[in-house]
C-alpha cells in the first residue's frame, strides 16, 4: 500500500465533493490511481481527454507512482 494524495480539479472536484484527499492505495501507475478514485466516487468521465500530473509535473497515465506522491487529476481542459 502507498500513501497517495489525490487532487481533483473543476468537474472532478465538484463530482467528488472535495478538492483533495489522502488515500492508502494498492497502485502502480497514475492510471491505477485514477481508476481507484473513479470507483470511489462513481465517476463515469471517460479517461480519453483527461490528463494527469504527478508532483506538479505533467505525466503519462502509465507513469509509476511512489509512496507519498501527489497525483493531480485534470478533466478535459478548455482554455481561451
Amino acid at each position: 500500500m502507498k500513501t497517495i494524495t489525490v487532487r481533483y480539479f473543476a468537474g472532478f472536484r465538484e463530482h467528488a465533493g472535495l478538492g483533495e484527499e489522502t488515500l492508502q492505495l494498492d497502485v502502480v501507475t497514475a492510471m491505477d490511481v485514477f481508476n481507484e478514485t473513479r470507483a470511489r466516487h462513481g465517476s463515469t468521465e471517460p479517461t480519453g481527454h483527461c490528463k494527469v500530473a504527478i508532483n506538479d509535473e505533467m505525466a503519462d497515465w502509465t507513469a509509476k507512482v511512489s509512496d507519498g506522491d501527489t497525483v493531480l487529476l485534470f478533466p478535459p481542459v478548455a482554455g481561451g
Partner: protein, 144 residues
C-alpha cells in the same frame, strides 16, 4: 512570458511588452467572453486555472512557437475567476520582423493554450444552468 491574472487584463501594458526596434509585424489575439455558445445564452464565465502547471505549460508553448516561427517578443496572459460578457479572457501578442511569423506564432500559441493548459471554463447560462466546457479540438474528436 506567460502569466495568469485574477484581475482584468490591461491590454495597453501588455502591448508595450512587444516593443522592439526590429519589429515590423505585430499580431495580437484576444479571446472575449461571448454572449452565446452552441445556441445557449451565456451570462458569465468562470475560469479555474491550476497556476503552477498552467504557467509551466504556457511558457513551453511560447518557446515552441519561437522555434517554429522565430519572433522577437511574445507575451500571453490568461484570466482566472469570474468574467462578464465582453471581458478579455486571454491575450496573446507576438512581434516579429515580418507579419507572417507574427500571425503564425500567435495562432500557434492560442491554439495550443486552448487544449494543453490546465484551465477549465464553466459557463453560466440564462436558464440558470451551468456547465464545464470541453475544448473544441477534444469535442471534435469526441463527436467523430
Amino acid at each position: 512570458m506567460f502569466a495568469v491574472s485574477s484581475s482584468a487584463i490591461t491590454v495597453g501594458e501588455l502591448r508595450a511588452h512587444l516593443t522592439n526596434p526590429g519589429s515590423g509585424g505585430v499580431c495580437i489575439f484576444e479571446g472575449w467572453v461571448r454572449d452565446e455558445n452552441e445556441g445557449r445564452t451565456v451570462l458569465r464565465l468562470e475560469y479555474e486555472v491550476y497556476d503552477p502547471l498552467a504557467i509551466a505549460e504556457g511558457e513551453k508553448v511560447i518557446a515552441e512557437a519561437g522555434q517554429k516561427f522565430p519572433f522577437l517578443e511574445a507575451t500571453c496572459v490568461h484570466r482566472s475567476g469570474l468574467l462578464e460578457i465582453g471581458d478579455c479572457a486571454v491575450w496573446v501578442g507576438v512581434s516579429a520582423k515580418h507579419r507572417d511569423e507574427a500571425f503564425k506564432a500567435c495562432r500557434y500559441i492560442i491554439d495550443e493554450i486552448k487544449v494543453r493548459l490546465p484551465i477549465w471554463k464553466k459557463e453560466h447560462y440564462a436558464d440558470g444552468d451551468s456547465g464545464w466546457v470541453v475544448c473544441e479540438r477534444c469535442a471534435n474528436v469526441r463527436h467523430g
